[in-house]
Symmetry: C2
Subunit: 475 residues, 2 copies
């Protein structure tokens, strides 16, 4: 019996008709069964008479399947396979955990530390491989990336692959997908998976000169179903319905709601679902949103959004380290690191991006390549602190005019002072517990443990310099 690692891909390949337009004329799906449990999975046409059904088994043991199709040669195909235990490093897909946080399906904590390379898969192999090498050495475990190619400032190049076939008059035939395009993105998603990086797939975006931003509802929906059928079996996939959805004038709020429901209905695994805003948040309280993907320059407000939506808050864009003239792409590394910490002590997660001018317009935020900035090292330092913290994540515990701290009540407190530089500070931790204290220089990346243990109300001498944190861990 064929063996497939848990949370990896079982793929059923079937030959079938190549005539006509199989993308729209042939239906294919399968039921995957483990004991009495049944999952419904859509298949897809992969060109040249090849049909596939991809499935990510989540339970070790024997699985059965049977196909359904309007094409007799594809219908009623049955089989079994064995799902084996996950190998080290494979923790399954990411789930919302502890209301405001995330964990892999095996329970391992996942603290999103994301970056953005919107159009990296449209740059050709040399640059794309360099991007993967850079990511491997980086602290980032989530990558925001567009499915469609991108047209925008600093992004004028044509992509290598297009998602659709051309029609007879040189336009796009939105009913015929280009398998080569999808083979390519699948390779990249798989490589990210091997690096332990979640692929936060941006399904629509407004930066377009080809017409993919305005295909009409029928083509939009067909595209979403096709993408889900092809990509949902990758355990590291997240669905971001759009970047700056509110700049896409051709789509209304009802379209976004419908897109969410299509994804929610078709994806058998329930990958994380959200949508990224420009000026106005989508209503993240809607039931099909799993977490808040936010663009906002003030991650100091994370706590407020947690309370508003009752879901994890990921500030995917809070402006980028760089020196371009656009406001969103020219904050200092120090300011970006500060915003990461502000979001962290608010009980949320913040994302990175880098936009330094480049003679060939290779800006990390869009094309990838190499990193030039000073923030990634500090973000790696913060990631280490998150990973040393409570497995359930940091919740905002103290938020007064005097200061802010996140952690886990009675166990762990992480204070952050930002532009404030107290040379002494009175802490007030629960009576009874004793806590080890460490002074953290968030920019200098040092952790200095203080002598003794502390509890109740006590005063500590602090460095009197900005961008410091203090960590208390129960002894």
């Amino acid at each position: 019996m064929k063996a497939v690692e848990r949370w990896s891909i079982f793929e059923l390949a079937l030959p079938g008709p190549a005539e006509g337009n199989p993308f729209v004329e042939v239906t294919l799906s399968a039921q995957f069964m483990y004991r009495n449990r049944v999952l419904y999975v859509d298949g897809f046409y992969d060109g040249e008479g090849r049909y596939r059904v991809r499935f990510m088994p989540d339970t070790p043991g024997e699985w059965r399947y049977v196909t359904q199709s309007n094409c007799p040669t594809l219908d009623g195909q049955k089989g079994t396979f064995l799902c084996t235990d996950a190998m080290p490093g494979n923790h399954g897909p990411v789930r919302v955990h502890n209301t405001y946080h995330f964990a892999y399906e095996d329970g391992t904590p996942y603290f999103p530390v994301g970056t953005t390379c919107y159009a990296w898969i449209h740059q050709g192999d040399a640059l794309e491989e360099q991007t993967l090498e850079t990511l491997q050495r980086s602290p980032f475990n989530k990558l925001r990336m567009c499915v469609f190619p991108k047209h925008y400032t600093y992004n004028e190049n044509e992509p290598v692959y297009y998602p659709f076939e051309r029609n007879a008059t040189g336009g796009w035939d939105f009913t015929r997908f280009n398998p080569a395009f999808f083979h390519h993105i699948e390779q990249r998603i798989g490589q990210l998976c091997a690096l332990g990086i979640e692929a936060d797939l941006i399904l629509f975006h407004p930066y377009d000169r080809w017409g993919f931003a305005d295909m009409g509802a029928e083509a939009d929906d067909r595209y979403l179903r096709y993408v889900v059928a092809r990509l949902a079996a990758y355990r590291n996939v997240w669905w971001s319905l759009a970047n700056e959805y509110d700049l896409m004038e051709s789509k209304k709020m009802a379209d976004w709601d419908r897109f969410f429901r299509i994804i929610q209905t078709c994806d058998p695994y329930g990958h994380p679902r959200s949508v990224h805003n420009c000026r106005q948040f989508y209503d993240h309280a809607k039931p099909w949103v799993t977490h808040c993907s936010v663009q906002h320059s003030d991650p100091g407000r994370v706590r407020e959004w947690r309370e508003l939506y009752g879901k994890p808050v990921v500030v995917d864009e809070c402006q980028y380290e760089g020196n371009i003239e656009e406001h969103w792409g020219n904050i200092t590394a120090q300011e970006l690191v500060h915003r990461f910490w502000e979001g962290t002590v608010g009980g949320g997660y913040v994302g990175h991006g880098e936009t330094y001018r480049h003679p060939e317009d290779i800006l990390w935020w869009s094309k990838g390549g190499v990193l030039h900035g000073q923030s990634p090292a500090r973000i790696a330092f913060l990631r280490r602190i998150l990973e040393e913290g409570p497995t359930g994540g940091l919740d905002p515990l103290i938020h007064t005019w005097r200061g802010k701290a996140a952690g886990k009540a009675g166990e762990y407190y992480l204070f952050y002072f930002g532009v404030h530089q107290p040379s002494e500070y009175t802490f007030d931790l629960p009576e009874g517990g004793r806590y080890q204290a460490e002074i953290i220089d968030t920019w200098g990346m040092t952790i200095t443990q203080l002598e003794g243990a502390f509890g109740g109300r006590f005063k500590l001498q602090l460095p009197g310099r900005p961008y410091h944190a203090v960590r208390f861990r129960r002894v």
Copy 2:
């Protein structure tokens, strides 16, 4: 005939009864007349049988006066005096000018660059004289100061003078003012006037262990009338009804409204009137408020408050440079200077304070003394820029996601980039005009003029470092 300089003090001293309680039993006022114009001025009892009426003439020429009193020896006293032209440096009292700005009564622009020494007049002569010396070498032209002594962290000392006499049981007799107290504050206000510094007098405040924060309505109102009678003739007086009025639980909103109306009714000269908040702004739209005195940590919102209230906005407290443990008193000099610039390009004014720990608790913000910080030099630099700008002040002209600038349309534009560090930037100034461009390092205090003149849409290379501004002045 006695001669008095314009906007200086004419004082009429009259002997009268010392028996009983003249503070409450004897009424005294005067009419001051210039041609057909009449100003109504309250007099006051100054102890030891001395009565005074103080008047600030605003028009050169011959003035007449006549007193009214319920005491025959004080009633019907008449006389004349000659008001002479103002001497150099005497520009008269400050008025609201150009809706959102200020000017002295002679038309000279006044750009408030304030600081705070709440309790400086309660520290004894040695420290008070040192404070005056420091102020003389500082960029500050407005000083927030309390009338009443202050009880608060770092402020435990008893004052030298109390505003009231003791009663027989050791409490305060709120019906009997202490002339020595007022002679002292008058001396200090006069000294500030000589230094060109506006005395922003805080009439009530909650930091109190003596009972002055909760005297009851009758005593409050009597106190206000007495203060106005004594101090309104000083041309550099501003009325700040309270510091953190919303922390004074014994007073209701109706009390604050009444206090404003008393000041407005009794002050013959219409000195600036406002009130400073802790958590919640007083409604500065009320007609008796001349300008908004704001405590808020984000002067980036000045533009919004200008629009809301239609009056000048002075962010008197945006947190202070220092290193004490309280959040409001430990921001970096760089952050404070940044907030000054943010408020400036929003079309408002920002105030300074300094709270570095001191072995004897002599913190500038409360007691005065000397300045230790790095912000005053940069604030002096900003004051110079304000004084080199349009005489009517800077109004917010450009406010987009790309950047912010204030100035005077078609003549002057001051862009400020804050934590943003563009290495190039596309400006869009009105077609037709040509502007000289200067790059300003707000922290390094340098101004670098660029070659050439610019207009319309054009791109400049910028330093690619934070806290820079660009000034355009029409050629």
